[in-house]
């Protein structure tokens, strides 16, 4: 048992650190949930791509470096420690791209991946619907066969980044007569500015249009934008929620950096006599370390050939709860200043609040943990 990195990983880390030191903007970019901030973050993605960092785990032919999970984890630690901007292309890179690598065609990969990595095309996920949230298989939006492709109709919602993004991927009902709800679904990609698409931004708690509703009225999708076999969309979508992608949704580096910032804040602003608050700061440090080591163990298992399934649910429940607790601790340290909406922890706090809800609610994740990891009987949800 060891935690030693290979020379290759360490070299990658050093290279990343130097590059980031020279390139990370001195002043934080405007919030990426605004038009101005979105554009600035898009430019940052292009700069990252220029350095070979925007999708370093992809093969070189698509603009990556062929880095393994350990390399990616090391890069992420450097990235967040350097105070680099949030990744506006995350949905594409961590959700759609792995789906294309597993289920897409060579033509799709050649066409879609590079513009994604350059930040030219920003992707949004179009999965949830008004009547299909945790019960995603209840989705009703349909794709009807037409000459050379499909016509999409229906409504998607809670689509992160869709207010400013270019394209979206999602699952649609192509066989309404299928025996089971999760049969007869098809995974496909479409343009958010295509004819028949209406995007209505939705303000999140702080009013920023962080997500949107998408109305679809006979939107044409050519066959080349269907991922995998028609009718197999559910299985493809579910494979995007588990496996190594469970590891890449939120990297430990992000929380290690946040815990460091919190510790700094505590040293500056904390009252040494307030041991209750001190303990919460310590818990943030411990939690970041736990998450890093938990991920190291998962990555080691993955490297040894194991399939990571339901344990990604442990991962998600952990970081989403952790993120809120860490930000609440920061706000408590700030005292009366915490109320300022433009304060240094405000945006992160609002972002963290959504964690237990998106990417599969924590209720669903806990059901998965209980049923698949603990072997408890299925019940009604």
């Amino acid at each position: 048992m060891d935690l030693a990195q290979t020379a290759e990983t360490e070299a990658l880390r050093t290279e990343a650190r130097e590059w980031l030191r020279a390139h990370v903007p001195a002043r934080p970019l405007p919030s990426l949930e605004t038009a101005e901030g979105f554009a600035a973050h898009r430019e940052w993605e292009a700069e990252l791509y220029g350095g070979g960092w925007s999708a370093l785990s992809w093969p070189e032919e698509y603009g990556g470096r062929g880095a393994d999970l350990f390399g990616w984890l090391a890069f992420e630690e450097e990235y967040w420690a350097a105070g680099a901007p949030g990744r506006v292309s995350q949905n594409g890179i961590s959700l759609l791209a792995p789906t294309l690598f597993h289920h897409g065609t060579a033509e799709q990969r050649a066409r879609v991946l590079e513009p994604m990595a350059r930040g030219e095309v920003i992707w949004a996920q179009a999965w949830s619907e008004p009547e299909a949230g945790s019960d995603l298989a209840a989705l009703r939006s349909r794709a009807v066969r037409t000459e050379g492709g499909w016509l999409l109709s229906g409504q998607k919602t809670w689509s992160s980044r869709a207010a400013f993004a270019d394209r979206a991927f999602g699952i649609f009902r192509t066989d309404p007569g299928a025996a089971e709800l999760h049969q007869g679904l098809t995974y496909l990609m479409f343009g958010l500015r295509d004819p028949g698409v209406t995007v209505r931004p939705i303000g999140r708690l702080d009013g920023k249009p962080a997500f949107a509703e998408i109305f679809l009225d006979e939107v044409f999708v050519p066959d080349e934008d269907v991922i995998g076999e028609p009718g197999r969309g559910w299985r493809i979508a579910m494979s995007a929620t588990g496996d190594e992608r469970g590891l890449t949704l939120r990297s430990p580096g992000r929380f290690l950096a946040a815990a460091d910032r919190l510790t700094e804040l505590w040293r500056e602003a904390g009252d040494p006599a307030d041991t209750a608050l001190r303990d919460r700061v310590a818990d943030a440090v411990i939690g970041a370390r736990a998450y890093r080591l938990f991920t190291a163990a998962s990555a080691s298992r993955f490297a040894a050939g194991a399939v990571l399934g339901a344990e990604s649910s442990l991962n998600k429940v952990f970081w989403s709860g952790y993120d809120i607790a860490l930000h609440e601790t920061a706000l408590d340290l700030l005292g009366p200043d915490a109320e300022a909406a433009d304060g240094p922890w405000a945006e992160g706090y609002v972002f963290a609040l959504a964690g237990p809800v998106y990417a599969g609610t924590n209720e669903i994740q806990r059901d998965i943990i209980a049923e698949r990891l603990l072997g408890l009987p299925k019940g009604r949800r």
């Binding site: 048992m1 060891d2 935690l3 030693a4 990195q5 290979t6 990983t9 350990f70 510790t263 505590w266 041991t275 001190r278 303990d279 700061v281 310590a282 818990d283 440090v285 411990i286 939690g287 370390r289 736990a290 998450y291 080591l293 938990f294 190291a296 163990a297 990555a299 080691s300 298992r301 490297a303 040894a304 344990e311 442990l314 429940v317 952990f318 209720e363 994740q365 806990r366 059901d367 943990i369 209980a370 049923e371 990891l373 603990l374 072997g375 408890l376 009987p377 299925k378 019940g379 949800r381």
Partner: protein
């Protein structure tokens, strides 16, 4: 990086698990709490034969240590099976004496490693008690830079040797399931007192041991017998080296306790999952209710995020990393809290029967909290984490 146990380490865990499953540890614990240390000391020798007590003893003194990863593996199993006795103390004493060296190390370490002796330990800064001092052949105490050793009657001369006057050994000693509810036992939780076990607050009715470690303080876990070391004893080493060795021993004690707490929590979770699958209400297993599932899922989360902290600390200890102390403290906070949370979950989800001594579960329920606090309270460990 390969942050996984290797085949040999996994096999070590499996063999200890098999040994302890066959040993009927609930019966051993009941005996231990009632003052019948014989079965516990027999088990002690078998654990020694499996290599457990050699893990922290340096090779020069007949051990194989220090092997922190294997120590963690062993103590998770010991915690899971609820093994009683000054296990942590004996391992930490190995680290202490190994660090100090000299005649005391020569005399005691080979015997600790081979399991022919039982040692307890109290270190300044970790609370006043030496666990199970009445069974120990030696009680080590460090104050300032002085290491003292008090010889006791102990159990080194064989199973049963530790049973002093007044200890029930004949008929009437509780041995079976439900034994804790025998005649004279108090009926509330945390008072599982068989005949002869001290029951009064402060332990004033405790039995005298032959060479007198004094009366024990009653723990909420009746199988943990807490003694304040007698003043005096022979000074076996002094100087800054003692201070340094005591620091290392304290870190190892914290580490082994964290592992035990994790194992204790695992056992509580496992028992509770089994229970909610078979306990039926409203026509369905209670384990099919979401509120029950989620509580158990959260319990698993706590344990599964404590585990990498424990093994991460083991790796740092093995590397002699400067941050090892903080890493151990982080592991102790997480494992201690997760183990205690598992106890709360077990209590809640077993319903009323969990609040009794009817089930063996009670032994684990009562141990989780002491393990959380022993050898570094959560608060002290959190401070250690931030001290770096």
């Amino acid at each position: 990086m390969r942050f996984l146990l290797d085949d040999e380490q996994r096999e070590f865990a499996r063999s200890l698990d098999a040994l302890l499953t066959a040993a009927d540890t609930p019966a051993v614990v009941r005996g231990w709490a009632a003052g019948d240390h014989g079965p516990g000391l027999t088990l002690w020798r078998r654990l020694a034969d499996a290599g457990v007590f050699a893990l922290a003893v340096p090779e020069a003194y007949g051990g194989v240590g220090p092997l922190p990863v294997e120590t963690a593996v062993a103590f998770v199993e010991l915690g899971r099976h609820g093994v009683p006795g000054p296990l942590v103390e004996s391992v930490a004493a190995g680290v202490l004496l190994g660090g100090v060296g000299g005649p005391a190390a020569k005399e005691w370490l080979p015997r600790i490693a081979s399991g022919t002796t039982v040692v307890s330990l109290a270190l300044e800064g970790y609370g006043p008690y030496a666990l199970d001092a009445d069974v120990a052949d030696a009680v080590l105490t460090v104050t300032g830079d002085e290491l003292r050793l008090t010889r006791g009657a102990g159990g080194a001369t064989g199973p049963g040797a530790a049973t002093g006057p007044g200890v029930p050994t004949g008929p009437g000693v509780p041995t079976g399931p439900g034994a804790a509810s025998g005649p004279g036992a108090a009926s509330g939780p945390g008072a599982a007192s068989g005949p002869g076990v001290p029951t009064g607050p402060g332990g004033s009715t405790g039995r005298p041991a032959p060479t007198g470690p004094g009366a024990p303080t009653v723990s909420v876990d009746p199988a943990r017998r807490l003694f304040r070391p007698e003043p005096g004893g022979e000074v076996v080493a002094a100087g800054p080296g003692v201070r340094e060795a005591a620091r290392a021993a304290g870190t190892w004690a914290t580490f082994a306790t964290a592992a035990q707490a994790l194992g204790c929590g695992e056992a509580l979770l496992r028992a509770t999952v089994a229970y909610v699958k078979q306990r039926t209400q409203f026509g369905v297993p209670v384990g099919s209710f979401q509120a029950v599932k989620h509580r158990l899922a959260d319990t698993l989360l706590g344990l599964e995020f404590a585990r990498p902290l424990l093994y991460g600390a083991a790796v740092e200890l093995a590397d002699g990393a400067p941050g090892a102390g903080a890493a151990v403290a982080a592991a102790k906070v997480a494992a201690g809290e997760a183990g205690y949370a598992a106890a709360r979950t077990a209590l809640q989800l077993h319903g009323a029967v969990g609040y009794t001594e009817e089930l063996d579960l009670a032994w684990w329920l009562r141990r989780a909290r002491p393990l959380r606090d022993a050898w570094g309270t959560p608060s002290a460990c959190r401070a250690r984490v931030l001290a770096g």
